[in-house]
């Protein structure tokens, strides 16, 4: 990941995912504001629409990639001792992969 997401490519990823996240959050926040799910059935029905489900999975992917690039940059800037830096990056990776797998078990 660090080779793929380093330098210019990471910069590009960060901007593409930023725009995706911006659009999706506008949709999500307006849906939850103006048409909140009334009950369990309505909520599950909304979540099982193919477009919503695909959108959610793309959103989670973009969110995790954006989080990796952003927090990785912050760790590299502030955590200098190599051992500590590797530990922090490993914990971050586990945090994000764990979150992603959990979402997949719910929506996958």
């Amino acid at each position: 990941m660090s080779r793929q997401a380093s330098g210019f490519r990471a910069w590009v990823y960060q901007r593409i995912t930023a725009v995706l996240l911006l659009l999706f959050f506008v949709y999500l926040l307006s849906t939850l504001s103006f048409a909140p799910p009334a009950d369990f059935v309505a909520w599950v029905e909304w979540l099982s629409q193919p477009l919503v489900r695909i959108g959610l999975l793309i959103f989670v992917g973009a969110l995790l990639l954006h989080s990796w690039v952003g927090v990785r940059d912050a760790i590299i800037d502030y955590v200098h001792p190599l051992g500590l830096r590797i530990t922090a990056l490993t914990l971050l990776a586990l945090w994000l992969i764990g979150t992603g797998l959990w979402v997949l078990t719910i929506l996958g």
Partner: protein, 126 residues
């Protein structure tokens, strides 16, 4: 005779006089890291809400409590700050707003607008 004048050298954020764009920029980072830290909590709420009618009720109960409202305000503040600062960075990438008075004004605008938008959203979501 040459004397070296002792000049201050520090990067302590509590001592340094940081320009407003710097404050906003650090806010962008803090808000980002803070939101990443809260991610599993939202997945937990999602898992609970789809676990069945009882789970949905439990999740609905959770998100209507004052403790969650306080957390949600902070989260929305972070999100709105990150949004606005992010849009500002995307604009700077294409050379919009890089002149001296403008980039300071937009930094101020981000700092002020984020908590206001968060409050409005909190009201809309409640």
């Amino acid at each position: 005779m040459i004397t070296t004048q002792k000049r201050p050298f520090f990067l302590n954020l509590l001592v340094i006089r940081l320009p407003v764009a710097g404050v906003m920029s650090i806010g962008h980072r803090i808000s980002g890291v803070a939101m990443v830290a809260t991610l599993p909590y939202f997945v937990y709420l999602l898992a609970l809400s789809v676990a069945g009618p009882a789970g949905f009720e439990a999740a609905a109960q959770l998100v209507s409590g004052w403790l969650f409202k306080a957390f949600l305000f902070l989260f929305l503040w972070a999100l709105m700050h990150h949004f606005l600062a992010g849009i500002r960075y995307l604009m700077l990438d294409i050379d919009i707003g890089i002149e001296k008075p403008v980039y300071r004004q937009t930094a101020w605008a981000v700092l002020v607008a984020a908590p206001v938008l968060a409050l409005i959203l909190l009201g809309a979501l409640s």
